[in-house]
Amino acid sequence: MSAQPDTTAALAHEPHAGDGQVHDDVALHLHDVSRYYAGTTGRGHALDNVSLDIACGEFVCIVGPSGCGKSTLLDILAGHQQPDAGEVLAHGERIDGPGRRRMVVFQEHALFPWLNVIENVEFGLHRAGHDQVTARRIAHNWLERVHLPDVATARIHELSGGMKQRVALARALSLDPEVLLMDEPFAALDAQTRDHLHAEVQELWQDTGKTIVFVTHNVREAVVLGDRVAVMAAKPGRMRAVVNVPLPRTRLLEDPEVVALARVVGHYLRDGAALDGEVFDATPRDEAAPTETADAP
């Protein structure tokens, strides 16, 4: 990964990695990003001056109530939507459309039902210019890494929800993206399957060193997975706080530290800054969020 001196320099005065986690490069840079939507009651703010920096190799979870714009934010990072205002950079370059460097794992139903499992994984590899032999080898390798070596020729509808999301993970990771964007990927799964996948995603992240942005409405899931948890608020969609999660991995949903920190994040989620001073073993990062008293444009 090449260093981007200009963005790193720009970050020096940003209250970024003050938590001891030193990252030498910024993977994703959001600055004063706004996005409007045309609703029945007129123009609304989907995102209001959202700023966030995500370091290379960092695992950041975004939590927020429905309608807070967290999926919009992910769409913008993926390049499926353009912000109406503000700056969005991936590795120092402006994001101007979807691409292989930032892969998205969607909630569900994004696998191609007309292809079997391994053909789904091969799809992107073919588009990237790999020949059939290479594509098959890489696809097999990734199916093994997500513990699905035996279902290569199965049809998609024959898989359970958890297996589908593993295939989606393999499909995304096989292209060796710099960033993995995950949009509530485990929301529709049962608790047990979700536990398994939480462990697997943490392992994959530690093995591959990918930058991961993980959107969820589940606070505990966010604390289990994230290095940091960005808490968003709705109407307008804005960044409320960024909470560090200095807990050792691999974490589990029922770890007491996870539960306790989730409670803290939950308070932020419900009521912004009211909790200042009684934060559990984590540095609240209010200063990273735009102040809520900022003038509306």
């Binding site: 993926a78 292989r100 892969m103 191609f112 039902p113 007309w114 799809f123 992107g124 588009r127 499909r171």
Partner: protein, 284 residues
């Protein structure tokens, strides 16, 4: 419920999921009986009714036995087969033309909203236009020949194929398209590797409707222009041979049914099964 005793045997040994069938399936033979008996009863009632109608003293309607005998005779001497064969050749040409044009047009409408807004309202209107109204126009412009017949066939089927394809493209989940974009599909690759395969079940549905429209248009044109089976019908009408006319009705019905059931319905079922889509509405 009397199904309790069969419930344990109903589960296939290879079934992996823990899904229990709530209603135990009936045995194969009892299902065959329940599928076959109602249409058989209808057939018997129909044949008896037909015989009763035909045995009135004043009628020129021939009964089922006479008609069947004529049908068999016409089949054996090859007359019906050669006329029907000519009709089917025209059908093949006309349907292929409308399938290619209709699917291409539908793909354009499905992926270009400007073309869609400009053209689709008219296509929907044309869908309900009886294609027989094209016949006089085709005759005046093209003359009384097979080209006119084919033109009417194509015109009759294009709207429903195009609209069916367009609807199929529109009903592709946006997530599929976005996932494909992320994976690097663009332009023509997006069309051939994503849009067409994703919309294929819907496109086949559109082609199935298109086939029915094409067949109706073709028979109407042949009746008026006197080609293929239409010529045969013209002669039968002049000769006042109700049995011959009815033989044609039956053979056309059988051809239509065979193509629909053995052709389209099978492709449709295979496509939908492979994708785990529900297969509904198939009787045969």
């Amino acid at each position: 419920m009397t199904t309790a005793s069969t419930a344990s045997t109903a589960r296939r040994p290879g079934e992996t999921s823990g899904e229990e069938r709530i209603v135990a399936p009936r045995t194969r033979s009892s299902r065959t009986v329940s599928v076959l008996v109602p249409p058989l009863v209808t057939a018997i009632v129909g044949l008896v009714g037909w015989q009763l109608l035909a045995s009135r003293p004043s009628t020129s309607l021939t009964g089922p036995v006479t008609t069947l005998r004529t049908l068999l005779a016409l089949t054996y001497n090859g007359q019906l087969a050669s006329d029907l064969g000519r009709t089917l050749v025209l059908m093949g040409i006309g349907f292929s033309g409308s399938a290619i044009a209709g699917v291409l047009l539908g793909l354009v409408l499905g992926s270009n909203s400007l073309a869609d807004r400009g053209l689709s309202p008219y296509l929907v209107g044309l869908q309900s236009l009886p294609s027989a109204v094209w016949i006089p126009l085709a005759v005046i412009i093209g003359g009384t020949n097979v080209t006119s017949v084919i033109a009417v066939t194509v015109l009759g089927a294009i709207p429903s194929i195009a609209i069916g394809t367009r609807d199929a493209v529109h009903s592709i989940p946006p997530l599929i398209i976005r996932a494909a974009q992320t994976l690097g599909a663009r332009g023509r690759t997006m069309m051939t590797r994503v849009v067409v395969p994703a919309a294929l079940p819907g496109i086949v549905d559109g082609l199935q409707h298109g086939w029915a429209f094409a067949f109706r248009s073709l028979i109407a044109a042949e009746l008026i222009l006197g080609t293929g089976i239409g010529a045969f019908l013209g002669v039968a009408k002049k000769e006042d041979r109700v049995d011959k006319v009815l033989s044609v009705v039956i053979s056309v019905l059988i051809v239509g049914l065979v193509v629909d059931r053995l052709g389209f319905a099978r492709i449709r079922r295979t496509l939908r099964r492979r994708r785990g889509m529900p297969v509904v509405g198939d009787l045969l």
